[in-house]
Subunit: 330 residues, 2 copies
């Protein structure tokens, strides 16, 4: 029910996912009549791979997390997370209120042992493929131990979903020299340098995210969220400038026609839809957050991200890796 | 002498500036023989508008600020800053080591009364022109009072150099709702909301930098530096992708030829050279930091930024505005 568009986007995306993945089963959680109507719009109905679970409430995009937690116990978000808790579902995908999703998932599913705070992780495009970054906004104040845990969780997730045996982990900082940065980042760097099971490559800077020389970039949620949104902002501005310039006169319009394959090529490589589907890591269950403004193909990507994490059992891997590191530290 | 290229870039850029601005006088500070040789390469020599001030040392890009301060008292950077202190120059422009420039400028010139920390401010392109952001890396840990001072300094600088009577000031945060953000940002927001002489528009997010709805974006130096470098990184990646795609085959190469005016138009609007020249604000003097990797036209822009700030007497304006606000607060 969540996101800027609700069922008109999430329902057809769910149908696309079922079509593409014969092994997939989905439960649509929310207002039954609206979901049935939306299925009907697409000439579909519930079947053995597509069920509907009614929920009478909706968490609004501007509900405070504490309000949602207290007063929306029959919201689509809460009911869907309960399905994961009860083992009826292996993952939840939501385009709804991020703060409420985080708070509800934390309350219902609980944290993995040894994890203090959950984090939001997602992939960003890079020159050579993509780079994962965390935290993207779950925690605005973190200490060095939390950054250390983020690094482990990010490394495990990337090694699982990307089939990378030893992902390169970098700590975002304002300079590559040891002397720079704030205290929590410097201390986290020292902790990571002492952890042999992680492929820690040291400090990285904002531009490194897009160079492809690092697989996991670790930072606090304030920095990560700002970097993510600024990156989206400048990419959009460049795209808009490109469009404006191509519309300038008949010659540039002709150039635009000829340049279509080029522009499509760029679209394929830096398509924000392709990067939709952030993970809330550190929880005892798989929770995927779709962008609120996600399109149908973008929401499909979020569903597929959930499938990858289910297949690789990411929470269990994070738990195992954390235990191994905690034991080796003692 | 500083930056990635030294005199081969800074000297011809200085000559360009003198040619373009008949009212300008420049002093080149550094190794006299190297500067003379570089002038000779461009068929130039010292004259009544172009002097050379010899300095025997150079601050290296990897010198620690404290080391430079203690051991490089005859460096080009230090000597140039002393010229400003002694009133022989009205501003200094450097492409050298940022940390050393900040520390030396702070030590030699001192802070303006009422300013706790200097900040780095620069313009970034936006949909409708550009947006200034501070701090871009001088301070990795700041409290709410410091953010408040940054807001005032940014507002004064932008109103002066942009001839904007009431610049819109936003505080960078992870969400626009009052509940989000860390403590120092929330407290700074409360301080700013109570300051009638500032046009404070509330919290803004990373993408707002590029939308053109805000003139001054205030944040700590860790966030600002990360956002700036990530923005540069993704813009470069998009540019590179565009080039790669245009080179793909003969049809796309033909499209590239036709699209040249379009690509040049984008270059004009989002040209990083045009945005070279960050200011160190809060000091009793004008200090402009050029990007270390600046090209000749980019370094020329940094010199022109210094000229704008001299013309508007930015440090005096910041001092006056701060005094007025401090008095109104009592």
């Amino acid at each position: 029910m969540g996101g800027d568009y609700g069922p008109p986007v999430t329902v057809p995306a769910a149908l696309d996912a079922l079509k593409r993945h014969p092994e997939l089963k989905l439960a649509l959680v929310g207002d039954e009549s609206r979901l049935l109507a939306e299925l009907k719009n697409h000439h579909a109905a519930p079947n053995d791979r597509l069920s509907i679970r009614h929920a009478s409430q909706i968490v609004e995009m501007d509900d405070k997390p504490s309000f949602a937690l207290r007063n929306k116990k029959d919201s689509s978000m809460r009911v869907a997370i309960e399905l994961v808790k009860e083992g009826e579902a292996q993952a939840i995908v939501s385009a709804g209120n991020t703060g409420a999703l985080m708070a509800t998932a934390r309350f219902v599913l609980k944290m993995l042992p040894g994890v203090d705070r959950p984090a939001i992780i997602a992939a960003l495009p890079s020159k050579r493929g993509h780079t994962h970054m965390l935290d993207l906004g779950a925690n605005v104040d973190v200490d060095s131990e939390t950054l250390f845990q983020f690094a482990i969780m990010g490394s495990v997730l990337v090694s699982a979903v990307e089939d990378l045996s030893n992902p390169r982990v970098g700590l975002l900082n304002v300079g590559e020299e040891e002397i720079k940065g704030n205290d929590q980042v410097k201390q986290a760097g020292a902790l990571l340098a002492e952890c042999p099971s992680l492929n820690y490559i040291g400090f990285v800077e904002g531009n490194d995210i897009y160079l492809g020389d690092v697989d996991v970039v670790v930072c606090d949620g304030f920095v990560g969220n700002s970097v993510l949104k600024a990156s989206e902002g400048i990419a959009k501005m460049i795209g808009q400038t490109l469009k404006d310039e191509f519309k300038r006169n008949w010659l540039t319009k002709l150039a635009a026609l000829l340049a279509m394959p080029v522009l499509k090529g760029i679209g394929r490589r830096i398509n924000p839809d392709k990067y939709n589907g952030a993970s809330l890591v550190g929880l005892r269950g798989i929770v995927i957050k779709s962008h609120g403004g996600a399109s149908r193909p973008a929401f499909l990507n979020a569903i597929e991200e959930a499938m990858r994490e289910v297949e690789k059992d990411v929470p269990q891997r994070i738990k195992d890796q954390l235990e191994a590191i905690l034991v080796s530290r003692v």
